[in-house]
């Protein structure tokens, strides 16, 4: 099996980097990330921002969805704010 292929024969896109911007003033940009089994906010922050301590940024952006930052579940769709 090629390194990039998962066992369902589709490529792996976990290292994709993305961004966005707008000419509209004060536009807010965020990525939508679907929680997978084994994820934690710090792991997601490490992957997205390169800094596990930035998990608070993700938590604050999802306060309406997350009551406890230690409790996230597979399938949840989190807003990941753009890096500063």
């Amino acid at each position: 099996m090629a390194p990039q292929d998962k066992d369902d024969d589709m490529p792996d896109f976990s290292d994709v980097q993305s961004g966005a911007s707008s000419t509209a003033p004060e536009a807010e940009v965020y990525e939508t990330y679907e929680v997978k089994s084994g994820d934690s906010l710090s792991k997601i922050a490490k992957r997205v921002y390169g800094n596990a301590s930035a998990w608070k940024k993700i938590y604050e952006a999802n306060r309406d969805l997350l009551k406890d930052p230690d409790k996230i579940f597979p399938g949840q769709k989190l807003k990941i704010p753009a890096a500063d």
Binding site: P11, A20, S21, A27, E31, K79
Partner: protein
């Protein structure tokens, strides 16, 4: 001469009456001319155009539209919107192989434009894009159906 003057007098008086100034016509009421407001934007944001390319300019517009990319390129989608008011524009990038679809990335811009706006979304993959077919779907707000879809290839 006296007789002539006397006979002319009534005529002169008539002429004077004929020249009597008519009272000025009443001042007409002021006419209000409806003026069209400056070109107004619709109060709802909509997507007008989506263009793909491998570079954008300072206005966030793709410099040269393409639909085939190399594995190491950053892929841009420039999305023009019209209208005003709060809106969400979401780009969902996917890899397509036959009936299977794999999500590549999903990014949202929340904006509140006061006029036409240009929005850019971009994706890159340091290890290189797998060759094949892809698509980017542009959704407005919480719509389940994309406002526009663009397909492209990496090869």
């Amino acid at each position: 001469m006296k007789k002539l003057t006397a006979s002319l007098l009534p005529l002169l008086m008539l002429g004077a009456q004929g020249c009597k100034k008519e009272p000025p016509p009443p001042t007409p009421p002021p006419v209000t001319i409806a003026t069209l407001p400056p070109t107004t934007q619709p109060a709802v944001v909509s997507v007008s155009t989506v263009t793909l390319g491998n570079a954008i300019d300072a206005e966030k517009r793709v410099t040269s539209a393409v639909d085939t990319f190399t594995p190491k390129e950053t892929i841009y989608a420039s999305v023009d919107t019209i209208g005003t008011g709060p809106a969400k524009v979401r780009a969902l990038w996917s890899f397509v192989r036959g009936e299977k679809v794999a999500k590549v990335d999903e990014t949202t811009i929340e904006l509140n434009p006061t006029g036409p706006a240009t929005n850019e979304f971009h994706v890159s993959k340091p290890s290189g894009w797998p060759k094949g077919d892809y698509k980017v779907e542009i959704f407005l707000n919480d719509a389940a159906v994309p406002a526009q879809t663009k397909t492209f290839k990496v090869g």
